[in-house]
């Protein structure tokens, strides 16, 4: 038995999950709450350069590799798991609670993986456990969204394994360290990470599956998968210029979809991609300032995104509705949830004193400093846009707007506690960023609170709000409508099935025709042959001797002729 401080972090969660599976009631709740606490203490006791290896045949797998980067994500995931568990304490759903712990544990497994094989195993465990979190809603929609989700996640895993094998074969090492995007192996791994990171055009699994999960399932989902991918990029591909442009695209395009989306958790899913875009961009820039920005933004993002998904989860839990067109006026029934949602909205919008303000700006500042003015302008556009759709739209259409007439109870106590704690953390990080800064991989030489930064950010945000008000008053703002907006998923949910149906129809027509007309051709042919061989046919009839002799003569002449040439 290894001593405290040298236990692989994922193991604590897996053991916790096993115990949760065989207990019930308060004991189960206590185990769930204790798991991340024990895990965090284990991390705290861990040496700053601890490594744990595990021999597998000829290879030694590095199951635990501790450095500043993995430690930051380690604590972040413990914190996110703890808050998510409080939020889901009211549940009595063994499957969901067990898989939530396994899922958080798998994320830790990935973050501490020192080699690509361990990373792959954790990657697949993440896919499978999160699949059950999608299923936990137990609706038909959730089931089919879950199946699509699983296929895409497993595809990411297969690409990761293929890349790992290629790298292992060419270099003889499975170490998971900084790579350059050259050759087959790293490219495959890059795409595998990209799928999990929701790259443009590979993103649709996220906006498809997350809104179909349970109120608490989505809180867990939003915290781990994409952030594991962000970590993997920060570890594997820092300074890869391609990521700058991918990140900027990710920050830009989802906000357009978010503005016209009706399902408010899908709006949040789009804004999740938009926020991950900032991180990917920072990793691509690759300077110490940019990496610090990306990683610290991941930290604040997990908290405020959890908070927003919690507040929407609470609304869904109480009202059973999630469409902007069905909601409104809920501040009357759920005042506390409203306040917490606004804190999350202010944090994602990066208002001064809220967490987004101290992290996102590092990435933007790095973009200017490293000579990417257009990327900077794109990120600035995305910053205004995120305030517009996540900062204003979410609280406005859920809690204010027109009164939907829904009167429900305030969220359960455990949800309020979880939201309250998360909101407090968002404000704490925003108001006292130096605690977060001290955990970053590089020393921080950045001051978020200058008069100029506070002023410019306020100008950007208040004038975005002014634009929202102006568009609303002018009637130009697109109303919330019960609708589906087609996205990339259209290709595999509509176009591909239609294509397959068309191909099948053609194949069926061809085979039918062959069957039908082929029979005719064969019967005609056999009739003709029969006719030839019959007594009146050319082969079957009796020939005169002279005719036969002449034919033999012709054949023999022909034969001699052929023989001599």
């Amino acid at each position: 038995m290894s001593s405290f401080g040298s236990i692989a972090p994922f193991l604590i969660f897996y053991v916790g999950a096993a115990l949760v599976a065989v207990t019930a009631g308060h004991v189960r709740s206590a185990i769930m709450l204790l798991t991340p606490v024990v895990g965090a203490l284990n991390l705290y006791a861990m040496a700053a350069d601890f490594n744990a290896t595990f021999a597998l045949f000829d290879y030694s797998l590095i199951v635990v590799r501790v450095d500043k980067l993995s430690t930051l994500f380690g604590y972040l995931f413990h914190l996110a798991a703890f808050l998510g568990i409080i939020f889901s304490l009211h549940l009595n759903d063994r499957m969901q609670q067990v898989t939530a712990l396994l899922y958080a544990g798998s994320a830790l497994g990935a973050v501490y993986a020192g080699d690509l094989l361990t990373l792959f195993l954790s990657w697949e465990m993440l896919a499978i456990t999160s699949f059950f979190l999608v299923l936990a809603r137990r609706t038909e929609r959730a089931f089919s969204a879950g199946m699509r989700y699983l296929i895409i996640q497993v595809l990411s895993g297969v690409l990761l394994l293929a890349g790992t094998v290629v790298i292992g074969y060419t270099t003889g090492s499975f170490a998971f360290d900084k790579m350059t995007l050259e050759g087959l192996g790293p490219t495959l791994i890059f795409i595998a990470f990209g799928i999990k990171c929701a790259f443009p055009a590979l993103h649709n699994w996220l906006t498809d599956a997350y809104p179909e999960s349970t109120p608490s399932g989505t809180v867990f989902l939003s915290a781990f998968s994409t952030k594991v991918a962000v970590y993997a990029f920060a570890r594997g591909f820092p300074g890869t210029e391609l990521l700058v442009y991918i990140g900027a695209t990710m920050a830009m395009f989802p906000i357009f979809f978010a503005v016209i989306e009706n399902d408010l958790r899908r709006v949040l899913s789009y804004s999740l991609i938009n926020q991950v875009g900032f991180m990917v961009c920072g990793i691509g820039i690759g300077t110490s300032l940019a990496i610090n920005g990306a990683v610290s933004h991941a930290f604040s993002h997990v908290l405020y995104k959890s908070l927003l998904f919690m507040s929407m989860g609470a609304v869904l839990y109480r009202t059973g509705k999630m469409n902007g067109s069905d909601l409104g006026g809920l501040y009357k029934s759920m005042p506390w949830t409203t306040v917490f949602c606004i804190v999350g909205a202010a944090s994602i919008s990066a208002f001064p004193l809220f967490s987004g303000f101290v992290s996102k700006s590092m990435v933007m500042y790095a973009a200017i400093k490293e000579g990417h003015p257009f990327v900077w302008l794109a990120l600035l556009f995305a910053s205004a846009g995120v305030f517009h759709h996540a900062g204003i739209k979410i609280p406005y259409f859920a809690f204010f707007a027109h009164d939907s007439g829904i009167r429900c109870k305030e969220a359960p106590l455990n949800m309020l506690i979880a939201m309250g704690l998360t909101a407090a953390l968002c404000i704490f990080i925003g108001s006292y960023p130096w605690w977060l800064y001290s955990m970053l991989p590089y020393p921080v030489d950045y001051a978020p609170y200058t008069w100029a930064h506070v002023l410019t950010q306020c100008q950007l945000l208040f004038f975005s709000a002014l634009a929202f008000v102006w568009l609303q008053l002018r009637g130009l703002y697109p109303p919330e409508l019960p609708s589906t907006n087609i996205d990339v998923e259209w290709t595999y949910r509509k176009m591909l099935p239609a294509f397959v149906t068309a191909v099948r129809r053609v194949v069926r027509q061809v085979t039918d025709r062959i069957r039908r007309e082929g029979g005719q051709i064969i019967s005609t042919a056999s009739n003709r042959i029969e006719a030839l061989a019959s007594q009146t046919g050319i082969l079957g009839s009796t020939w005169a001797i002279s005719t036969t002799a002449m034919w033999i003569l012709i054949l023999l002449t022909g034969y001699i002729f052929i023989f001599y040439i």
Partner: protein
Amino acid sequence: MANKTGNQEKTYIFDDPKNIKRVLWGLYFVCGLTVLLDFVIHRHVDHPLEAVWGFYCIYGFVACVILVLIATEMRKVLMRKEDYYDE
């Protein structure tokens, strides 16, 4: 405060249109204030565009208007019925 008759609901803060007006005027005031502060606070400039007077105000406003107008146009192409994929 519950009404004595019981079937009439308590009025909430934004049931009164005056309070909505107050919030809006508050926003206008803050917007005006940030513009005025632009004269007072010396802004350190990392990019020449930032030196343009009121750059962040204009950019924030214009960005959001463009965002919404494009999104509204996108809706014409992308919007389907709610049960589009269930058919």
